[in-house]
């Protein structure tokens, strides 16, 4: 029974690999060449036209991670960023993320009426930020596999909707970018979102967020 199951699983994996074009492209092309020796026409772009050169200065990044909302516990956060790379040093970006606050220890211990309604526990933040690639470098994964990387720092301003009102937000952070191919990057990002809340009394809160993400250049 077990071996039959294994066999089935293996079959599924093999067929998936075969049908997924990105995985099997290299193999497929070779096979086709062997079967049908097509003469590929040599098309040469002899004339220079700048529009033939693709530019990839914009980047869309989707992140997932954890945010620790001060007094409201640590919760999953979903994030979307669009960055524009101005130079190899600087980039600007707009970002949005969403999370939901838990119950405070105060509510858990004392019970009674909740401090905030479920809607008010939803946290939505918009940020505009400026980033600086402070430490560009390379990561040598194996002897012949190298990825370009960058340790960057960011600072941003924005608005956080939480606890039923808007809060002016300052965001500072740092992250690590690994360019895994020409158009894809993998991120780990750490940020502190600082804003004032006035649920009991007005105080400044630090909301630490750690995310991982994938970026695509276009």
């Amino acid at each position: 029974m077990e071996s039959r199951f294994r066999h089935l699983l293996l079959n599924i994996i093999i067929s998936t690999l075969f049908f997924l074009p990105t995985f099997s492209c290299g193999i497929e092309i070779e096979e086709v060449k062997e079967l049908y020796p097509i003469i590929q026409p040599e098309i040469k772009r002899t004339k220079f036209d700048e529009s033939n050169i693709k530019t990839a200065d914009f980047e869309i990044i989707s992140n997932i991670g954890i945010i620790s909302i001060e007094d409201f516990g640590s919760n999953p956060a979903l994030e979307l960023n669009i960055n524009y790379h101005i130079s190899d040093d600087f980039f600007v970006g707009v970002g949005w993320f969403q999370a939901t606050g838990d119950e405070t220890s105060f509510e858990v211990v004392l019970g009674g009426a909740p401090l905030l309604s479920n809607n008010e526990r939803e946290m939505t933040t918009y940020l505009i930020s400026l980033g600086y690639n402070a430490l560009p470098g390379e990561a040598f994964v194996t002897d012949n596999l190298t990825y370009n990387t960058s340790l960057y720092i960011t600072a941003g301003l924005g608005n956080t909707s939480f606890a039923g009102s808007d809060h002016f937000t300052l965001s500072v952070g740092a992250g690590y970018r690994v360019l895994v191919s020409n158009y894809f990057a993998v991120y780990t990002d750490f940020r502190d979102n600082i804003f004032n809340v006035d649920i009991f009394k007005e105080k400044s809160t630090h909301n630490l967020k750690f995310t991982v993400g994938v970026g695509y250049y276009f």
Binding site: T46, K47, D49, I53, H85, I128, G164, S165, D166, V180
Partner: protein, 251 residues
Amino acid sequence: MLIKKIIIILLLLSGGSNNVYSNEQFQEVIVADPYVDVYTGHGNSYPVFHIIERGETIEIIFRHTSWFKIKNKEGIEGWVKLEQMTKTLSPDNHKQIELQTFSHEDYVDRRWEAGLLGGRFGSADALTIYAAYLFNKSLAVELSDTEIIGNTSSSSLYKLAIIMQPFPTLAFSPYVMLGTGFIETTPKTTLVLPKDNRNQFGNFGLGVQTYLSKRIILKIEYSDFVIFSANKDYDSNEDLKEWKAGFAIFF
């Protein structure tokens, strides 16, 4: 186990996108300088690992900021900077190629501009996002949205303004603006305040802007707002001042 999975995903991603362009036809250019440096990454701090000699043909895979990912005939891939790339030749007529660069001149002749500014509006923090269209070097129209986050209420201010920049070529170029629009105020939920309201306003502003580099403009602005909030209960209009600074990108 997790690390293994991540590495596999990374490999698949890199393999996947390599295939995307493996059969594509790229723009070719001929090296005209005695040699061209090929860097391992897009930045001056990356090492030069290869040199392409005069007369060699290279393919341009894509451009990222002012760097070009290239491939030579032997399949060596690397990055070449803009300054060296502009000295290469077109394969058909052997003339020097022209690539898009940004200079002070392009800034003066810009058509579109979009930016982000932060500052103080009255006694509250404010953030502004705007887009502007320039009819000529010194006349522009601007549309903006300012989000004002105060202690007792938050407001959205939508503005349409005409901007005059009398000396567009100066390094620090002053401008004046005249605008109008409306402001919507929402009180914070923790406080009991009058109901939401919406008022029209008139605005006069002064600012200075300077060209930084590439496509970036820095600007600082002072604005005076007269909010037409007078009604039968309320006798006078409100007068609010705004300071803000930020950056813009032009196209």
